[in-house]
């Protein structure tokens, strides 16, 4: 009695979110749920919230939908909080495997909560990879890791590169194989914060953005939709060719500084999500990365200029 499949059945025509109408997505989400394929995982999302369905429809337009019988790695429900207080201030609950690890969010922040919660789940589970806190982009088969602390500009920089012919692999997780050679895409809407929103909207006039979410914990957030081609190539890992630590400073001109291997190693290990959990494999992976690739800090104050600096760095990288 084999119901359900581990791998999508290629004989069945796959549908992406955007081929359905908004009411269709809403109906499915509030009934059996939708199975979003966000390589390397698939996410079952159930929610009766119409606004969330609409925003998922916009931001996940090009992602494949799994069949109801396909295996999903993650089970998320987003439900309005019940009880008397919900009258005064409607809130949404993030339910993962029947548990609620977070305090509820205001109901109109359901989408940021989904994004944030999914990051949390991914960071807590995907110990088959070394998870760096880094954006990752690729061009001509060469991937660049853009590790950073919040505020250093990795999200904005990676979104801007995605507008200029780079493939966006991820803006949050550098998902690295233990061999230390490959980075695996986990491409999700890029959360742009505060000042960077207007900057990116000007930089990528043809890009698609979600609605603004004011007053989140990180200020105002707007999501940049992952370009179609990056979504389509979501199952394609890329070879890591360079590591560039972005360092955005208002008004700064470009300054590229090479980093010694040991420094790069410690910086990467220090902001990894699971370096301590994966243990020796993580050490081997990081040793391989910093041994094979040059590391640089790129201080910049302007996106177009930063791209030029990156072009220079990449031109010196030997083909993968």
């Amino acid at each position: 009695m084999a119901v359900g499949r581990f791998e999508p059945d290629r004989r069945v025509r796959r549908v992406s979110v955007g081929t359905l109408s908004v009411p269709d997505v809403r109906d499915r989400m509030s009934a059996q749920g939708i199975a979003l394929r966000i390589p390397p995982i698939s996410v079952r999302l159930r929610s009766p919230l119409g606004l969330l369905a609409e925003q998922i429809h916009t931001l996940y337009r090009d992602y494949e939908l799994g069949d109801a019988r396909d295996f999903a790695d993650v089970d998320i429900r987003m439900i309005r909080v019940g009880g008397a207080r919900a009258w005064a201030r409607p809130q949404v609950q993030f339910i993962i495997d029947g548990t609620t690890p977070f305090d509820p969010f205001p109901i109109d922040h359901a989408l940021p909560m989904f994004e944030w919660g999914l990051n949390w789940v991914f960071g807590h589970r995907m110990h088959g990879y070394l998870l760096l806190h880094a954006a990752a982009v690729e061009r001509d088969g060469k991937a660049v890791l853009l590790p950073a602390w919040p505020g250093s500009g990795k999200s904005t920089l990676s979104a801007s590169l995605a507008c200029r012919g780079w493939r966006l692999l991820s803006d949050e997780f550098g998902v690295v194989t233990f061999s230390g050679t490959q980075v695996v895409p986990f491409a999700r809407p890029v959360a742009l914060k505060n000042e960077s929103i207007a900057v990116m909207q000007a930089f990528g006039p043809n890009a698609t953005f979600g609605p603004p979410f004011p007053k989140t914990r990180k200020g105002t957030v707007v999501h940049f939709r992952v370009p179609e081609e990056s979504v389509a190539r979501g199952n394609e890992a890329a070879t890591i060719a360079a590591i560039v630590f972005p360092d955005f400073q208002v008004g700064a001109s470009n300054l590229v500084r090479a980093l010694p291997q040991a420094t790069a190693f410690l910086k990467l290990a220090g902001n990894s999500f699971n370096y301590e959990i994966v243990g020796e494999k993580g050490f081997q992976a990081l040793s391989a990365i910093v041994g094979r690739c040059e590391s640089h800090v790129l201080r910049y104050g302007d996106l177009a200029r930063a791209h030029e600096a990156l072009d220079v760095i990449m031109s010196k990288v030997t083909p993968a």
Partner: protein, 368 residues
């Protein structure tokens, strides 16, 4: 949101898998999705992984399942490593003052090298020190850098007067709290085992300077902890630990008679009776007829027996992630009240519960 027929599936699959690992080989993709979700809900995914590896069937499982199992196992092993390390720090802090230590619960099972112990998601480590040294222990630990977790004056008083432990300590920047006990039951509880017996029967461990409870005392402690605690939410994992302890220790023939004798001497027969009843019904734990008959002596009145056994079986069965809101809240509340009833006299209990519920209402109001 879901059909009724799919509701108990995850919990059923999980129990089937734990009781007979070979059933894992028969699971299809949808079974696996529900099983993994339910195992995560009940904090037993790493346990399943360990069981499947040691039974040698992990290679037979689908890759997607192996990936999840392996990841959970890695995360749990890291927790076990941290627990061992935290215990070592505690030992360093207490040793110069000559304060003896017994490691309890999860970290003690790790010291005993029990495979299931390294699959727990720990939040704290538990240690016991002699009652007349507990103030010294607190002073040594706070001098060494641990800090009391933020509790108000009422909580502080509750711990110090009515509890068998001091308020939890946490070293800044670390994730595992340290709970320091002087016995295993609250001092006003109706269960009053003599802690000196635990010390007399305790055994050295692989860590020099740290002792562990004897096998029967470990089981009795886990039993009291599970069946007389106030929070029965998600305690299937603890039942599973008890199952593992009993299964491992009962290979020694003297285990059962010693267990029943010690339970009788220490006045811990009632929780042991509940443990036998629940374990055999939920997990099919092998308990010899002789031991079961002896435990009958600890049975409560038949009305209470029926209600308790039924309630315990239902709350200690794996929680299914599917129903929302969860079904079991009423029963959990009754068990919460019961546990306080057994640990405090009524003239203290009623003001305590009123105070706690008022505070909850107040914090809800502030939150709104």
């Amino acid at each position: 949101m879901s059909t009724n027929s799919s509701r108990r599936v995850g919990a059923r699959l999980l129990l089937d898998a734990i009781r007979d690992l070979r059933t894992l080989r028969t699971f299809d993709a949808q079974d696996w999705e529900r099983l993994l979700s339910c195992a995560r809900r009940n904090a037993v995914l790493a346990y399943l992984a360990e069981k499947a590896s040691s039974a040698g069937i992990i290679e037979d499982l689908p890759e997607i399942a192996r990936t999840s199992l392996a990841a959970a196992q890695l995360a749990a092993q890291r927790m076990a490593q941290l627990a061992r390390w935290e215990l070592d720090r505690v030992r360093r802090a207490l040793r110069p003052a000559g304060i003896p230590i017994i490691a309890l619960k999860g970290v003690a099972y790790i010291l005993r090298g029990m495979p299931h112990a390294s699959t727990r998601l720990l939040a704290d480590i538990d240690v016991m020190v002699p009652r007349d040294r507990i103030d010294d222990a607190e002073r040594e630990l706070t001098t060494a850098g641990w800090q009391g977790t933020k509790l108000d004056a009422y909580d502080q008083r509750y711990y110090r007067e009515w509890s068998h432990e001091i308020p939890p300590l946490l070293y800044p920047g670390r994730i595992l709290e340290v709970d320091v006990h002087h016995t295993i039951c609250p001092p006003l509880s109706r269960l009053r085992p003599d802690p000196q017996h635990f010390w007399n029967h305790s055994e050295p461990s692989v860590d020099d300077g740290i002792r562990v409870l004897s096998p029967v005392d470990s089981v009795l402690h886990a039993t009291v902890h599970l069946f007389f605690d106030s929070d029965f939410n998600g305690r299937f994992r603890d039942l599973l630990d008890l199952h593992e302890l009993i299964t491992a220790f009962s290979t020694d023939e003297s285990f059962w008679p010693t267990l029943l004798e010690r339970a009788a001497n220490q006045g811990l027969g009632r929780p042991l009776y509940y443990a036998f009843a629940t374990l055999s019904r939920v997990l099919g734990t092998h308990i010899p007829q002789q031991a079961r008959s002896s435990a009958e002596a600890f049975r409560p009145s038949s009305l209470l027996d029926r209600w308790m056994t039924r309630t315990l079986v239902s709350v200690l069965t794996p929680v299914d992630p599917e129903p929302w809101p969860p079904h079991y809240r009423g029963r959990l509340w009754l068990l919460y009240v019961r546990s306080h009833w057994t640990r405090m006299p009524a003239h203290l209990l009623i003001p305590h519960l009123v105070r706690k519920s008022l505070r909850r209402a107040q914090s809800a109001a502030i939150d709104a």
